[in-house]
Amino acid sequence: MTEYTTVIGLEVHAELKTKSKAFCSCSTSFGSEPNTHVCPVCLGMPGALPVMNKRVVEFAVRFGLAVNCDIQKYSKFDRKNYFYPDLSKNYQISQFAQPICLGGHLDIQVDGKTKRVGITRIHMEEDAGKLVHSGATINTSDSSAVDYNRAGVPLIEIVSEPDMRSAAEARAYMEKLKAYLEYTDVCDCKMQEGSMRCDANISVMPEGAKEFGTRAEIKNLNSFRALEKTIEYEVQRQIQILEDGGHIVQETRTWDDAQGVTFSMRSKEEAHDYRYFPEPDLVPIVLDDAYIDKVRSELPELPDARKARLIKEKGLQEYDAELIVSNKKMADYYAKADKVASDAKVLANWMLGEVSAYLNNNTVEMDKFPISPEHLGELVNLIKKGVLSNKLAKQVFAEMLKADKAPAELVKSLGLEQVSDTGALQAMVDEVIAANPQSVADFKAGKDRAVGFLVGQIMKKSRGKANPAMVNEMIVKKLKE
């Protein structure tokens, strides 16, 4: 069987978190009563005109700089014409011929290797409204209603080069983009609410081929999982067609999450002719060096820089550092906890272990995590000081999840303090050794395993509170007497 190479390019739409819409002063807030954030402009009333929201330009430039783009000093808007009831003017104001950003890139890490993914362009545009059907789809419904609250909400579309070769790379790129969108604070990246979504261009070609295969464009993927599943499915579908002697049709497809398949929406022949032309109601966007430099000077620390810093200054493993920085909220939490914690690596282990497990099991975001970063830092300190064993620390952690109290306080109130008092431990050691002559005999016969057994007995006896390291040392000493 022929080996195939997969070629993937992504077009990611990110809703900008400006307070007002792209071309009018309506609020962009999500989840309000339908058609409460609307005005003549975003409703497309006769005679209404768009006016550029300057914050949208600022956000696009900020993000463009973050992902290494060339900011265009002259860019302009075009009209993208198509009829759909959620599009109030039946054209979308977008940038086609001259977008605001060109030629950037992001580095992704997959299987320990770093790969650079090119960004072709970033352009600004407006979102459409939302259709609410009485039935399942527009074609099977008796009626549909339109909510224009989202109409005119600003978006940037980030178009990548076809540089990705696997679902894992595509996911890594998407995750990296999300981190950059969050760090630059331009998008809240709530994929389930649609504030970040992507279209994937997928093709396959025989390994070593010079020309890409015919691509299919899969629309509106709104989770990392959907992106990966779509690519995996689509690659197999295309390979199967080629293996069966068929050829791939250039078309737009859609992902059916329930069935786990993609299906055709429209072929190339049925593709829209958007009849782009320059938007005459808006003037071109002209930026100067001073403006671009100012936005650049206001850029926050970006994910790759923060990762490098965690590796260099905190001694974290690259993999761990990547995991922490990839989620801005986690990275910010880590930074706060790190101010308190005496050991950055132990803290990282807790973040990627217990904390992540809690977040995953309860499907909550870091900002809804019940324990304050300061308290987690204090917990790390109690472990480092030997006040808590790892096991006890987990118990305390479980209590902290229920009520975010200072761990030292919980240790006291729960009586979980580790016993490190030599006198108290010695008594237990003597008692256990006296009660287990067989183990003593085993030890003398050279079976070191016996120590473990004896330590275990003490831990049991102390209900886990005995300092295991001290107990171990004391037992060995006693046995050697």
Partner: protein, 487 residues
């Protein structure tokens, strides 16, 4: 009392001196409308109740001794593509037959601040697409100088309302001559300001890069007064110009000495009716007499202006009119069983043939594979046309041309759409270059008014007003009264 040919500035004096009241004036104009509008058919909608309430308010202000603005209490008419909150705005189209706007156009806000009066909304070519006001879905407006003839268009209702004494001042919009040509056909003064001088916010868009609102009035002074109120930057229109607005009435001086008036030879060719040309030549002589210097100039790309316009304007219109889809407002076909079918049927039934023709034209020239040959090329030619004017203005201060190659022609004539389009050859280049243009009465042919067009440099309205005012004060053409005959 008869207020035919009464001007804003005269009536303002009378109001201030309490010789008349605004309520009397407003009632008298409505009486006139009652008497003649079944013949002229200038209006689509009247708003008598609000107009009289506003008139009473101004009368109270005057009684209290408050200072009032020049337009306060003086009834005007608004073209039906300019949005007045709460008042039906149809664009003379079935698709907006029952449409009530939810906001005021920027010019309307400004006019309301000046406490003026809106009599009602005037007829026009559907969505301003036409030069005769015959493409209106509702009615054909008749030229008050000869009721068998067209009033011109697309602001035909706004111009004939002035000529028939059915309004003291009015607003039109001009995309390719739609203020100047009907002003010329009706013996009125009409100005298309520099593109960006007046906010387009609330003027239902036909071709966004060409549209401009402007006044139609009985004399040049009134045009200056209305301009003072409607001009100026607007935060809601990105293309409005952030320039200081001068007091245009200060430009009204009887003095053209040393002013260089250019005659572009391409505007005096074979397409211009000889009798019209004759009247224009007399006007040129008059200017010479008044001390202006006449220079011959050339605008070599003029011959491409109309064809270029009929690519750019329909292209923009095809997108601008896409919002009329039956979803949010306007006419909806209720028999359709799917959303796309509903939109198609609503548009097919809601738009008239001329609007459909231009939407199809615009859609075609923007289509993939044709864009470069048509739209892109047209935009390049537009630049050449603009450069022609820039070069011409190195040699002169303003240009003088016929406003239209012809006087008003009979209603229901047998001209093809293309023949009608070609008649806009004298006005279209001005929109293509974004320049200010004014039409003023300068003679008669077959008892029908002839208009002379003056074209200015960008933001050169003051020079235009000065030259127009000087001519007007030296002649009597603007005082002639329409006969309402011919039927």
């Amino acid at each position: 009392m008869d207020y035919k040919k009464s001007t804003v500035h005269e009536l303002h004096e009378k109001l201030v001196k309490k010789e008349i009241s605004s309520v009397e004036l407003t009632n008298a104009i409505y009486k006139r409308i009652d008497d003649v509008d079944d013949k002229v058919k200038a209006y689509l909608t009247l708003d008598k109740e609000n107009a009289l309430a506003q008139a009473a308010k101004v009368d109270t202000m005057i009684a209290k001794g408050e200072t009032i603005k020049p337009l306060a209490g003086i009834p005007g008419a608004i073209k039906d593509n300019i949005s007045i909150k709460g008042l039906r705005t149809t664009c003379a189209s079935k698709i907006l037959e029952n449409f009530i706007p939810i906001y005021d156009a920027h010019v309307i806000e400004n006019l309301k601040k000046d406490e003026t009066i809106f009599l009602g909304k005037t007829n026009m070519d559907e969505f301003a697409m036409g030069s005769t006001t015959e493409t209106s879905h509702f009615q054909i407006t008749h030229n008050p100088w000869d009721l068998t003839r067209v009033p011109g268009g697309s602001s035909g209702g706004s111009a004939s309302a002035i000529a028939a004494g059915e309004a003291v001042w009015s607003l039109g919009s001009d995309t390719g001559g739609s203020i100047r040509q009907p002003a010329s056909f009706n013996g009125c003064v009409g100005i298309k300001p520099t593109y960006g001088r007046v906010s387009r916010y609330g003027c239902v868009a036909f071709a966004s890069s060409l549209d401009q609102i402007g006044p139609i009035t009985n004399d040049v002074t009134d045009a200056a007064i209305v301009l003072n109120t409607i001009c100026g930057v607007d935060a809601h229109d990105s293309t409005s110009l952030p320039m200081e607005v001068p007091d245009f009435t200060k430009a009204l001086r009887q003095d053209v000495k040393g002013l260089k008036i250019g005659l572009p030879k391409e505007f005096y060719g074979e397409g211009i009716d000889a009798p019209v040309k004759e009247q224009i030549k007399l006007a040129i002589e008059k200017y010479k007499e008044l001390g202006a210097e006449i220079v011959d100039i050339s605008l070599p790309h003029t011959e491409y202006a109309v064809i270029t316009y009929y690519i750019i304007a329909p292209a923009e219109a095809s997108a601008n009119l896409a919002r009329f889809d039956g979803v949010r407002y306007g006419y909806r076909n209720m028999k359709a069983t799917s959303a796309p079918e509903m939109t198609t049927a609503s548009r097919t039934e809601g738009f008239g043939p001329e609007v459909r023709r231009r939407i199809m034209l615009g859609t075609y020239v923007l289509s993939s594979g044709y864009y470069d040959a048509y739209y892109k090329k047209a935009m390049q030619v537009r630049t050449l046309i603009r450069e022609d004017f820039t070069k011409a203005f190195e040699k002169c201060d303003l240009l003088l041309t016929p406003t239209s190659p012809v006087v008003a022609y009979p209603i229901g004539g047998n001209m093809s759409p293309l023949e009608v389009y070609m008649l806009d050859v004298t006005t279209i280049p001005v929109n293509m270059a974004g320049l200010p243009g004014i039409s003023i009465p300068c003679g008669f042919v077959d008892k029908m008014p002839v208009g002379m067009q003056l074209i200015g440099k960008p933001l050169g309205e003051e020079t235009l007003l000065r030259a127009a005012y000087t001519f007007e004060q030296a002649t009597q053409f603007h005082k002639a009264v329409a006969s309402l005959g011919g039927k």
